[in-house]
Amino acid sequence: AQTVTQSQPEMSVQEAETVTLSCTYDTSENNYYLFWYKQPPSRQMILVIRQEAYKQQNATENRFSVNFQKAAKSFSLKISDSQLGDTAMYFCAFMKHNAGNNRKLIWGLGTSLAVNP
């Protein structure tokens, strides 16, 4: 069974600085997807970034980038130039690639990020 671990329950960063959130996972699958979702105080779950395991290049979306280390089963999220609106809970999630119609996400416990002015 797959598991996702986020070892940092809470983090804080000063506005405009860079912060990295950690995620590790355990799987015997070779092909899979990894995601970071953001959940602000409104509780809406927002997709931040995705990574396909077969791609060696790390995904980037504007100020958000990942460091994907397949051998180490590590998938960290880097937020550059942090903004107050980045304050949220961040969840790492895993999905098998050859899942057929069974595309469930397996979630970590989340990291609460506070961006301080």
Binding site: F35, M45, R50, N101, N102, R103, L105, L109
Partner: protein, 111 residues
Amino acid sequence: EPEVTQTPSHQVTQMGQEVILRCVPISNHLYFYWYRQILGQKVEFLVSFYNNEISEKSEIFDDQFSVERPDGSNFTLKIRSTKLEDSAMYFCASSVSYEQYFGPGTRLTVT
């Protein structure tokens, strides 16, 4: 930009009552999901739905739960006889392929 919608935003019900949570997925999406998040705990998968049938369900999704796509737009989750431990945030999601897009959630409070 198309989005997933959910109603109601907050539902309060008494233990033993039936509740129906409603979702309108993004219109061209084919896969539909329900997840729940008990306060302070991790997000848990409940059920996935494709081609008008359940494709996978978790051990949480017992006989008290059911899902339906009664027409071309709505996707509902029914809990027949609610328990106190069903109190949670319930999220609907939909996808075309592997990126799932979530609704704003329904907060269910069972008293």
